[in-house]
Structure formats: structure tokens, C-alpha cells
């Protein structure tokens, strides 16, 4: 008994991959690009199809293929130490480039390297370029080192869009830039974004009708990947919003691997990406304990819509620049801390948990400071577990379970001792090491 939104999503994705597979025959152009700072509307305004290697990598993880792919890449000389998304993708390519739905993926006509929030992206596409020998265009998104996207930085991005990205797309697709078309697509994006935000905000209710992390990664799928600025995307988010609103009205919780989670013991905020190779097992460790995630940062890597940003058809290139600059990992650390503290407060969380993945320095470097600061500022205790995105060698179920169990037992003990709220006034053992 699947929800309509799930079926829709499945069909959209299958259709997209069908088109991708057929692209070499139909002549549709394929642009490889990354999730954070993706320019889907722009790409689509040229009639080209976006393809996101990160999504393929995570899908490989979910389908149990990543282990082999990673081994393949390591055999080709990649270090055990580096991001496993890159290795899973390169391994997949080396093994015939069969995508998540079992169709063969086309080679890129263009690599659009939006350098947003992650250094590894640059290396990743340098590596792909080496293999595909195809045109590559680089878009540098300055980092929000000072906590905002400075106007000159925004101008720099618009400038690059105009002078580099658009000409590259024009050349590859043979079509001229069509700003009116882009505006139309951006308007579609904004509609879907409104619905997504309503869904995310629904978690403020008790019980929460959604899980904002494990369920959340499904909810963001279309909008973070190929479907922004498409009617399918708009339809999907409408459907999703309706379902969630129904559940909310009925006081129901989300579906989880342990059944429908109505009895929500713990409301958590989670920072960091999930593990994909044991996704359901991982989720179960939460749902079995009655823990629901009410807000997560991972679901903001492709845009921080819940803080108000919407694509704005009135200023097409400017809005794309704003969008790129505002993705979660392009925020500086103090900004990320603020965001988490905000989540804890707005969503009335009683726990805060970090899943630190070995792969991703962009997320992981600094998370322990985030942990301390969020604990200090909110007074709720933080938990910390470690795994990896798609390398099953770094997912130790026993180890993670042990920590999670300890964490939930601690929350429970504290609640028992402290009455209702699990958060006593005094922050835990505050102060940093002298």
C-alpha cells in the first residue's frame, strides 16, 4: 500500500533514466552536475538533461553495489582515505556505467562543475574529464566565509553564468539562451519549493507526520536532482503535501521500517548525511526506539528553502547565484551551528545527533565543535555516531547500535529524573577544555 507520492517519484525517476539511456539516440544532451548548487532550471531551459553522479553513487550504495565499485576504483589507484562517492561513481563507470534503474548511462556532453560547498567536486570532475574527454565548465561559488554571500561574490557568480556557463550550454546544445523559458521554469521551481517547505514544517507538530531525515531524503529527491522546474516536480510535491497534511490532521506519524510511528518517544535533530548501504537497518535503530527525526541538515544540501529562499523568476541569474551560495555546506560553521540551534528550538527537539561520515570532510570536519556548541546553547545532550555514505566497511551495526542505545537510554533516564522535558536548565558540563 504505497503512497501516491512514492509511486509518482518512482515513475518520474524511471522515466528520467529512460530518457537518459536513449539520449545518444534521441540526441538529447546530457549534462553531469552536482546536487549542491545545481542549475537544473538553466540546464533544462536548454532542453538538456541533468545527471547527478552523487545520486548514482548513493543509489549504488542502496542497491549493494557500492562495495564492488569502490574496490574497482581503489584498484585503479584511488586511496582508501578519500570520499567514497567519488570512488563509487568511478567504479560504476569502470564497470559499464549501468545506472540505478538498470539502464545504461550516457556519457556527458558537458561537465558542469558547480563548485559549491565541497572541494572534492573539483577533483571528481577533473577525474571524469580525464575519462570522458568532454567539455567542462567551471562555476566557482564563493564560500560564505563571513556568514553571507557578499554582493561582489554574487556578481562574480552571475558574471560566470553569463560568460562561461551559458555559452558552454549554448555550444553543447546548439540552442540560444532563452531567458523567458528560464523564468517559466523558475516559477515552477518556486511552487514545488513552497510545498516542500510546508512538508518540512509539518514536523513541528506532535506527533510529527514525517521523518525529516530517513523519510526526508526521499522527499528531497526530486527537488535536489533533476526535477526542479518541471511539471512532474510540481505534481509530486503537491501530492506529497496533501498526504502529509492528511496524516497531520489525523494525528498520525510517518511510516518507518518498524511500522507507523505514532508513539514518538524522542524528537531528534540530525546533522550529517545518512548511511546508504544499510539504510533501513540504520533507520530501524531509530524507529525501534520510537525516535523520529524532526529536522535535519542533510535535507538542505540542495538548498535551504525552509529559511525562506525561493527561486525568483524576476531575477533569473541572480536567483541562481543566491541559490548556489545558500546550500547548506556553503555556510560557514557558525552559520551551521545557528541553523541547528534554530531547529532544536523550532521543532522542540529533545535530542540532537550527529552522524559523522568518513567520506565527507565538508560535513565532518568540525562536527565535534558543532556538537559542543549546540549542546551548550540548547542544553540538550548531543549524540555522536560514525559511519560512511556508501562504503559498507565503515558501517558497524553493532557499534552504532551500542551508541544509539546508550544515547536513548540516557535521554530516557534524564527524562525520568527531570520530569517531562529531557532538557534540564543547566547545560551539561559546559565550558571547553582550558
Amino acid at each position: 500500500m504505497k503512497d501516491r507520492s512514492m509511486l509518482l517519484q518512482k515513475e518520474m525517476i524511471a522515466e528520467h533514466f529512460r530518457r537518459l539511456e536513449a539520449a545518444p539516440q534521441t540526441g538529447e544532451k546530457v549534462v553531469y552536475t552536482f546536487v549542491p548548487g545545481n542549475l537544473t532550471e538553466l540546464i533544462r531551459s536548454f532542453g538538456a538533461l541533468p545527471l547527478l553522479p552523487e545520486i548514482n553513487a548513493l543509489q549504488s550504495g542502496m542497491r549493494g553495489k557500492s562495495k564492488g565499485y569502490i574496490a574497482e576504483a581503489e584498484k585503479a589507484g584511488h586511496s582508501a582515505d578519500v570520499c567514497t562517492y567519488v570512488k563509487a561513481d568511478i567504479g560504476m563507470m569502470m564497470s559499464g556505467n549501468i545506472g540505478p534503474t538498470g539502464t545504461k548511462l550516457p556519457p556527458p556532453d558537458l561537465l558542469l562543475l558547480s563548485y559549491t560547498g565541497c572541494y572534492t567536486f573539483m577533483k571528481w570532475f577533473e577525474l571524469l574529464r580525464e575519462k570522458y574527454q568532454c567539455p567542462t565548465v567551471f562555476l566557482q561559488i564563493p564560500y560564505q566565509g563571513d556568514g553571507t554571500l557578499l554582493p561582489e561574490h554574487r556578481d562574480y557568480v552571475v558574471e560566470q553564468l553569463r560568460q562561461d556557463v551559458i555559452p558552454a550550454l549554448e555550444k553543447v546544445t546548439g540552442r540560444p539562451y532563452d531567458e523567458a523559458r528560464l523564468r517559466e521554469l523558475l516559477a515552477l521551481s518556486a511552487r514545488a519549493e513552497d510545498d516542500l517547505v510546508a512538508v518540512l514544517h509539518s514536523a513541528k507538530q506532535k506527533p510529527s507526520p514525517i521523518d525529516s531525515y530517513f523519510g526526508g531524503v526521499y522527499y528531497i529527491g526530486p527537488i535536489f536532482s533533476a526535477f526542479r522546474g518541471t511539471p512532474e516536480g510540481v505534481e509530486y510535491y503537491q501530492a506529497l503535501r496533501e498526504e502529509v497534511e492528511e496524516r497531520a490532521a489525523a494525528g498520525e506519524g510517518p511510516m518507518t521500517p518498524s511500522g507507523r510511528l505514532d508513539d514518538q518517544q524522542f524528537r531528534l535533530v540530525v546533522e550529517g548525511p545518512p548511511n546508504w548501504t544499510s539504510f533501513n537497518q540504520f533507520w530501524e535503530m531509530f524507529s525501534d526506539e520510537g525516535a523520529v527525526v524532526v529536522a535535519s541538515t542533510y535535507t538542505k544540501v540542495g538548498g535551504t528553502y525552509d529559511f525562506g529562499f525561493r527561486h525568483d523568476p524576476a531575477d533569473p541569474l541572480g536567483t541562481l547565484a543566491d541559490y548556489c551560495g545558500g546550500c547548506y555546506t556553503n555556510h560557514n560553521l557558525p552559520g551551521r551551528i545557528d541553523m541547528l540551534v534554530e531547529y532544536v528550538r523550532q521543532y522542540q527537539a529533545d535530542g540532537f545527533l550527529i552522524n559523522s561520515v568518513k567520506s565527507c570532510n565538508s560535513f565532518s570536519a568540525g562536527q565535534l565543535l558543532i556538537l559542543r556548541e549546540v549542546e551548550k546553547r540548547t542544553g540538550i545532550p548531543g549524540g555522536f555516531i560514525e559511519s560512511d555514505l556508501v562504503d559498507p566497511r565503515y558501517f558497524s551495526a553493532a557499534n552504532i547500535k551500542n551508541r544509539l542505545e546508550s544515547y536513548f537510554q540516557m535521554l530516557r533516564e534524564r527524562r525520568r529524573a527531570g520530569g517531562q522535558a529531557a532538557s534540564p536548565a543547566a547545560p551539561p558540563a559546559a565550558g571547553r577544555a582550558p
Partner: protein
């Protein structure tokens, strides 16, 4: 103070004195030299920076002492480890340790260049951990087309200059900037001379000594360093030394977290002269003199964009350039092979490695690869690998010198 050219004993003494001076600076994790410099005149300020590249000319022009923060070697780490998981490189741990133990209090500003996400995130951590310090993330230009970024990078330089001169309360004129450009041009040229000298006669300038001297350049004022380094060059030229039957290697990938001295020594002892490397790359990322055909900031911006050497920290628009860079460097250094030595968990270095390695292999250049951490204490593995490497070059290939005499025989992979 310089010895006369025909007094070998004095030359040797001077050399020992210089090396001891540099070693003291290297080992002084309390930055005593910086404290002394600050104390010499009221109102002085120092500005720290992380690897790899920051425009030191700007710091200098603003009247601050640029201080390279290159980790803590094998210092004991407690607080640093509290902030980093085991799968993150070692450098940020020791930097945080230095910070939280108060050893970096002498720095009024800290610059975090866009070397990788670890350093990038560290810039934010510094804002939280050291609220009194001016912190700036220095976002290097990453572009297809250098011309596109001149304005951007010039803007960044101007921004930095504005902030740093606000910190010192100076008004910086174009003349000030040109003076700074000139003195760093001089340093770049001298560093190049040192590398050239070692490339020619590596037994005269051991890697360890050259490294220590370059580390000194990261903490003392450039004006103080220049005469010492000139002295060093002249006294080593007077010492004939004794060439050993070693292979010549280029060490690639050690541009950020610095290897322990023991590693450099191990490589040389196991029979490999290091004739080119990426150590402390920031001092020669810009190649040659800064152009003088515009306003100083624009010239500086153009110098980085048009005159930088390839490195993992900058996007390489030219496909294939990375692969070609290895044979080119090996040729330029007249080396027999390449050692890829990168910090463990260092994404920039390790992700580049397959391409670089392919470049070496395509040109039949022998190469080996390993990972280290700044606090690595056991060198057995490295000795074994470097030793086998030099064994095989010596037993089979013949060193370049031998080959240049006789006809070349089949190459190694």
C-alpha cells in the same frame, strides 16, 4: 658576518650556525621569534596563515608579520583530537592544539586559504574558538579562464588589505605595496636559487637543511631571512661534500600537512636524493616576479592567475596538464623517479594521485607512493619502500647519471 670565500672552517661553522638557528625556530612551538619581533616595537601585529598559499605581500604591506602555521609536528595532542574524528588528517588537530594552548595568541589575524574543506571548516571553527582574532577565509580563484577571475581575486586582495590595515591602523599606499611585492619577489628568486643549487649538487644541500631554512622563512620577517639564506647558499657552495651513489627523486604531494623531518631523512638515507618537492609550496606557487604593468593589486592578482604552477589546490582547466606535469617536473629536475608522499586522509593530494601517477607511468617514470602524518614516528615502511626503489633504480636501471653516459636500456614502469 659572512665568511670569506676561502675559509672552509668558517664556512662550515657558519653553516652549522644557520642550521641550528633554523632548527630552533622549527622546534619552537611557542613562536618565540614572533613574540620577540612583536616586543621590539609597540603596536606591532602578526598574522598567521595556514597552508598552502596566501598573498603574503598583502600582510606585509599592511605592516604585519606573516607567520606560517604548519601544524605541530609530533607535539602531544589532546584538545585537537577532541575536535577531529580519526579519518581526518592530522594538521588541523595540531593547529587547534596550538590555538587552544594559547600558543597562537601572538597572532592578531588568521587566514585560512581554500586548500580543502578541512581548512575551510577550520576557518569557521576559529571564529568560534578564538573570538578575539580576525579570521578570514581566503577563497582562491578557481576558474576555467584566468582572465575571468582577475577582478574577483583583486577584490579579495583589496578586501583583505582593507581589513588588515584596519587592524594595524595604517594607510597602505601603492608604494608600500610595491615594496612588499619587491621583497617577496626577492625571496621567491632566492628560494629558486636554493632549489637550483640542490638540483645540481644534492649532496651539498641535504633536504633536511633546505627544509629547515624554508621553514624559518615562514616565521621570521622576510628582510631578516634573506641575508641568512644568501649566506647559506654561499657557504654550501664552498663545501664540496661527498656525492653518494643515490637515485634522484621528486617528492610530490606533500604540500599541506608537512612530513616529519625523519621522513625526509629516511628517504635520503635509503638512497634517494630529493631534487624537487612540494614542501611549503606557498613560497613558490607564484613563479617568477610579479608583473609591474598596472596597479599593484591587479598585478598581484594577475601573478597568481597567470603565473602559478600546477598544484592540487587550484583547478586545472587544461585537461591532461596534470598528467603531463610529472614528466615535465622529472625532466626539469633530472630525476630518476617520483615518490608520491601525501598526508593520510588528504583529499586534495590523494584524489590527484591517480592522474599524476598515470602521467608518470605513461612516461615510464618509476614511482612509488605512500602516506604519512606529521607525527608519524615509525619509518620502517618508508625505508623499505624507498630502499627497494633505490635498489631497483641502482641495480637495474642505472641512475640517470649512468644512463646519460651509456645508451638507455629498457625502462621501469
Amino acid at each position: 658576518m659572512s665568511p670569506t670565500p676561502d675559509d672552509p672552517t668558517a664556512a662550515r661553522a657558519r653553516r652549522q650556525q644557520i642550521v641550528a638557528w633554523a632548527r630552533d625556530l622549527y622546534e619552537d612551538l611557542d613562536f618565540g621569534s614572533v613574540h620577540r619581533w612583536l616586543a621590539q616595537a609597540p603596536g606591532r601585529k602578526a598574522c598567521g596563515y595556514l597552508p598552502v598559499y596566501v598573498p603574503r605581500e598583502i600582510i606585509h604591506a599592511a605592516g604585519m608579520l606573516p607567520v606560517g602555521v604548519h601544524g605541530g609536528g609530533s607535539m602531544e595532542i589532546i584538545r585537537g583530537d577532541a575536535y577531529y574524528q580519526s579519518y581526518i588528517c592530522h594538521l588541523p588537530r595540531s593547529v587547534v592544539e596550538l590555538g587552544l594552548t594559547g600558543r597562537l595568541k601572538c597572532l592578531s589575524a588568521m587566514l585560512f586559504p581554500s586548500t580543502c574543506d578541512v581548512i575551510r571548516n577550520l576557518s569557521g571553527m576559529w571564529q568560534v574558538l578564538e573570538p578575539g582574532t580576525y579570521v578570514r577565509y581566503v577563497d582562491l580563484p578557481q576558474v576555467n579562464e584566468p582572465a575571468r577571475a582577475v577582478d574577483f581575486w583583486r577584490g579579495e586582495l583589496a578586501h583583505l588589505l582593507r581589513d588588515l590595515s584596519a587592524c594595524t591602523g595604517r594607510t597602505v599606499t601603492d608604494e608600500d605595496l610595491w615594496r612588499s611585492v619587491a621583497v617577496y619577489d626577492e625571496q621567491r628568486a632566492l628560494v629558486q636559487d636554493l632549489y637550483d643549487a640542490r638540483r645540481e649538487q644534492p649532496w651539498r644541500i641535504p633536504s633536511e637543511e633546505l627544509y629547515l631554512l624554508l621553514r624559518a622563512a615562514e616565521v621570521v620577517p622576510v628582510e631578516e631571512w634573506l641575508p641568512v639564506a644568501r649566506d647559506y647558499l654561499s657557504v654550501t657552495a664552498q663545501d664540496p661534500g661527498r656525492p653518494r651513489d643515490n637515485a634522484r627523486v621528486v617528492v610530490v604531494g606533500a604540500f599541506c600537512e608537512q612530513p616529519p623531518l625523519g621522513l625526509l631523512k629516511t628517504i635520503e638515507r635509503a638512497g634517494c636524493y630529493i631534487v624537487d618537492d612540494d614542501l611549503l609550496l606557498g613560497n613558490r606557487l607564484v613563479q617568477g616576479a610579479v608583473p609591474r604593468d598596472g596597479d599593484p593589486l591587479t598585478c598581484l592578482a594577475r601573478a597568481l592567475l597567470f603565473q602559478h604552477r600546477e598544484s592540487s589546490i587550484l583547478y586545472e582547466p587544461d585537461p591532461g596538464a596534470k598528467m603531463r606535469s610529472i614528466p615535465r617536473r622529472v625532466e626539469a629536475a633530472r630525476a630518476d623517479g617520483v615518490i608520491f608522499a601525501a598526508p593520510s586522509f588528504c583529499d586534495p593530494a590523494l584524489l590527484d594521485r591517480p592522474m599524476l601517477r598515470e602521467g608518470a607511468e605513461a612516461s615510464k617514470i618509476p614511482c612509488i607512493a605512500f602516506k604519512y602524518a606529521e607525527n608519524t614516528g615509525q619509518f620502517q615502511q618508508f625505508r623499505e619502500q624507498a630502499g627497494t626503489f633505490s635498489d631497483s633504480i641502482k641495480l637495474w636501471l642505472g641512475t640517470r647519471a649512468e644512463r646519460e653516459q651509456s645508451a638507455p636500456q629498457g625502462g621501469a614502469r
